[in-house]
Symmetry: C2
């Protein structure tokens, strides 16, 4: 019998000693429970998303030293863990010391070397280099090592031999992407399986949460285990890690698939926990049923966990939320109210003369429902002071000795209001309150920069900026129904037209709201950003002309013709938002707060962009001319 | 005789049709000058830094179509150019269509296929994946292709055979990094040279300007040409390209090395120009002498060119600069005054009660010297209104029915001033003026976040944020002496103590300035950021203990002992700034404007970072305890 403990451990990136201490606790606990083998996730010691900290020699040395301690701590128990492995005598292609993303197996104080390998560890074969992943920037792959040694990758891929109380086990060791080989020229799992059927496979991962990814992983890993006729153990960390602009939650969700590919054990998402089981009896367990839940459930779990840990990681205990009476700020406030004690949450309403009684009342009611702190700070007099100061200031033209005055347009006045709210009131109040203030932007606004820089585009974290507007509404309903189980967010806030209330033309009582028609634009913008083959105006217009647009982007059938009676209106709208998306919105995103990622493509480090301006292909222009009869 | 034209062309990233049109003009011009061969830089058609635009199918199709047109345009002339090559039937490791960073040679309307290659183009072998380079994220390397084909990389590397009026030339074709192979397992140039001595080598590049890089390239390329006994032609583009957060200038600086490695021709930096020469007589030209100039000269060239093109690329014609009377804003203003007509530049002085007559007078004098527009917008009443509004607002504690007041600390009041200046005045005035406002932060401030978010940390571009404070001073003197040839920046501004003037404790007339001692901290911070092996407190403390710190970081000898009489003072200072650098400053940089890069490591996409908090190794802690006698 082989008793295995899967450590669904919280890894704190960039703090190896802390992670090593946590590992010791997990090892001690596994020993107590008579485990023969304890398995930790990928990069257990350093963490995975570290930016260019991988270039700090002292950090690497510390990771190496911590690894030695874990090896020493493996007396009487086998320990599998992830760490950076450094070959100080060799170079990476950037001229720095050679680094591998490595899988170590220690037992009785010694490392077990895979057959044919020049190192006492398994080297990650497939290095992801898409989305937020920069593995090839820092790590040398097994293929490169094979080339250097004049050997084949196939030869270097060999199982770890583990002897437990006289029984020998061959273990196929994989690191994260190694199990997702469909797009690569080789499959480490298939090679290992064909060489010699391992008794079981272990995949150690540092795999960020993405909506729908667990379901996909179950499909892929279940198939792989069945093909290999061997159990597959998946070990992932919990916690949060970031690449500066994009913050990822890691949900753990450890999983054990039996030799038939049936899921037999699964770790509760986001919990720091251990799964203990006997390998030989795993197929006798009842299959794990995955919960059937609305999309808002995993979104809420990711956001509440992510925000809580982000606050903890930056040492922030108090938060200010500007509340307008609208949906985005209400959802943000209701989310933070589930994370912070009520006295640490301050809601601020900042009316100008354009704010309706309706929304002011709703803002206050929200605060009452959440039972937190509340303050009203009007901005009218400050905004008027600014405009008056600008319009009466004398600009001297020192090149010709004349003077002149500036005038403030209504559009400029709208942005003055937005900046007054965020940079003057919220930032100042947050400092006086001893905390930070939130950015409540959603993904639709963020896509096209429907926001003001240093205004509503600012804050310490954008918790909702990876949610389309319909997902914000779904989350609002879910918060009331499933989380609060009462009307925390006022029903009218969910029903009201979304509006910035920055001018007379934006009167919610008259139903005057945003220029965005979310049931369509949510899906158009998603096609720009989230499709694996990114859609551009050329694709959109081709689908429009073919009558397949709604199906391609996923919005409601019949909607496009309803919103745009003519091709000209459709094209004007498409170009308006494409210009924004690839124009000014890029500039705004460059200066936007970090975004909590939930989708398959979050803005920031996940979706890299250059400020190169909008581009329309000649094919697009030809199609457009044809559609417009030009 | 082979007559060659090197096109030092301006490439506009993300706009293939525009680049193709420019190429036609260069080709026509080369024809007029009887050139047999015209050579364009790497990725001539798409541009090089595009973020994830490489994932847009329509964009790739357009690049392909543009490439076909250039091939068709090669009637009677050979054309070498860079483009993305797409194999739509094969996949990259991200599952998207296969893309190569490719070198095309067209003649008489047809492509020339390198021997042994399955494609009619040369594939980039070495894909840089450090600093701002993400080649491996998008492109498939020659090594991977070789593996897929079951061939060796060596076999696939073969010269292009070019027949010009009956003479056959073997050309060794390289793409940028292929010529910088010292840290790689193979050297494409060496392999090509050993296989069959090519008549000459061509390196097409998209190589961003970095201080000191041209000198290094001359050393490396000169040696390589001499080793290969063959001329080496280096073709690089001009223009600017960006990765969102980091903006790079491309200085062209085309170069022709003869078979002995002597530099015989060189393109003027940042000029869109062509070098025409006869290959056979190149060694008869006088050697090119590289100019001996102060560091501020290439810095000024890079900044003035970069800012001018950045303004052009975002369509901004008018600029507002907040001027304090201090050095950074004065240098920024003097720089912009050389780029914009005087009526398009507005300097703004925003005094509070803490601003001295000295600096107010200097700000005005600067504006007079530059002869642009000037306005004074005091912030005292607005700041007082904000503080008073905060301190009199009633915060309701809705959890217990009590109320309370907030108080504004002097530190909070300093930040309120900074945000009032930037987010209220500068952003509003810029909008009213019809332009943007600059961020004048230098690299020392940016390293440790000695700035206020939405305050002096904001703006549309940080032109000086890759310059250490001493480089800002050098640039100020250079502007007066070499550019303006008069006192444009008032001498007192260069002589005054740097100070934020945000409180009574920061009185310039009493010599009270920044907490940074630039002659030391410039160099300490540079060690954190710019060293290839990044320095951390562990390294710094070890050098301090060994007495080698000043030598290691490059500051003046004797300085450290003068500033820090005791080890405790030294360590307190080190930890203070390391905490800032890896703590709050990261959060500020995430939301900072784009930075114009000049150094070997600029903040942003070049120096990637995670918000993971400061870390001190155990070795550091042990050294510290020993030094402090603990």
């Amino acid at each position: 019998m082989l008793r295995i403990a899967l450590a669904q451990m919280r890894v704190v990136p960039g703090h190896p000693v802390r992670n090593t201490e946590t590992m010791r606790e997990f090892i001690a606990d596994a020993r107590k429970q008579n485990a023969d083998l304890v398995i930790f996730p990928e990069m257990t010691i350093p963490g995975y998303l570290l930016g260019d900290t991988w270039e700090q020699t002292a950090f690497l040395e510390e990771c190496e030293a911590c690894g030695e301690e874990i090896i020493a701590a493996s007396k009487g128990i086998a320990v599998m863990f992830g760490n950076v492995a450094i070959d100080w005598k060799k170079k990476n292609n950037d001229g720095r010391a050679r680094k591998y993303n490595a899988f170590f197996t220690a037992k009785d104080g010694r490392l077990i070397t895979p057959e044919g390998m020049p190192y006492p560890f398994v080297v990650k074969t497939l290095l992801p280099n898409y989305r937020a992943f920069d593995d090839t920037r820092h790590f040398f792959s097994l293929q490169k090592l094979a080339r250097e040694l004049g050997a084949s990758t196939e030869k270097l891929l060999s199982p770890i031999r583990l002897s437990i109380r006289g029984t020998a086990y061959a273990v196929g060791c994989l690191l994260c992407e190694d199990g997702w080989s469909d797009d690569y020229e080789l499959s480490p799992m298939k090679i290992l399986g064909e060489k010699e059927r391992p008794d079981f496979f272990v995949n150690i991962s540092a795999s960020p949460f993405t909506l729908g990814k667990n379901a996909k992983r179950h499909r892929v890993f279940s198939r792989r285990a069945a093909e290999a006729h061997a159990p597959l153990l998946y070990v992932n960390n919990v916690g949060i890690q970031n690449n500066g602009k994009t913050v990822y939650t890691f949900d753990g969700a450890n999983a054990v698939y039996d030799a038939a590919g049936v899921l037999r054990l699964s770790g509760a998402p986001y919990e720091e926990t251990t799964q203990i089981f006997d390998l030989e009896t795993i197929a006798g367990r009842p299959p794990v049923e995955l919960p059937d839940e609305p999309e808002a459930a995993p979104i809420f779990r990711a956001l509440s966990y992510g925000v809580r840990l982000f606050l903890e990681s930056i040492g922030m205990q108090r938060v200010v939320v500007g509340v307008s009476g609208g949906i985005d700020s209400a959802v943000a406030a209701a989310l933070y109210a589930k994370i912070l004690p009520p006295e640490n949450l301050l809601l601020v309403n900042m009316p100008s003369r354009y704010n309706s009684e309706t929304t002011k009342t709703l803002a206050r009611r929200l605060a009452e429902n959440l039972g937190c702190r509340y303050v009203t700070v009007p901005i009218q007099s400050s905004v008027e002071h600014t405009i008056q100061q600008f319009e009466t200031a004398t600009v001297e033209n020192l090149f010709n000795g004349t003077t002149e005055r500036l005038s403030v347009s209504s559009f400029t006045a709208e942005n003055i209001q937005a900046r007054d709210r965020s940079s003057r009131v919220l930032a100042g109040l947050a400092a006086a309150f001893g905390g930070g203030f939130t950015c409540n932007a959603n993904k639709a606004e963020t896509t096209v920069g429907y926001s003001t820089l240093y205004g509503d585009q600012s804050g310490f974290l954008s918790a909702l900026a990876d949610l389309w507007k319909y997902q914000v509404y779904d989350l609002a309903r879910y918060l009331n129904e499933a989380v609060y189980k009462r009307e925390a967010i006022p029903q009218e806030t969910i029903g009201i037209v979304p509006s910035a209330e920055l001018s007379d033309a934006q009167d919610v009582d008259k139903g005057q709201g945003d220029p965005l028609c979310y049931p369509y634009h949510d899906f158009l913008f998603r096609a720009f950003v989230e499709r694996w083959q990114k859609a551009t105006p050329q694709d959109i217009l081709a689908w429009y002309a073919a009558g397949t647009l709604e199906k391609e982007i996923g919005c409601a059938p019949g909607l496009v013709a309803k919103i745009f009676p003519t091709a000209k209106e459709f094209i004007d709208d498409l170009e308006r938002w494409w210009n924004q998306f690839s124009g000014l919105a890029v500039a705004k995103r460059i200066q936007a707060p970090p975004i909590l990622a939930v989708s398959r493509r979050a803005f920031g480090f996940d979706h890299r962009e250059a400020q190169n301006g909008p581009h329309y292909t000649r094919k697009y222009k030809a199609m457009k001319a044809e559609l417009l009869g030009e």
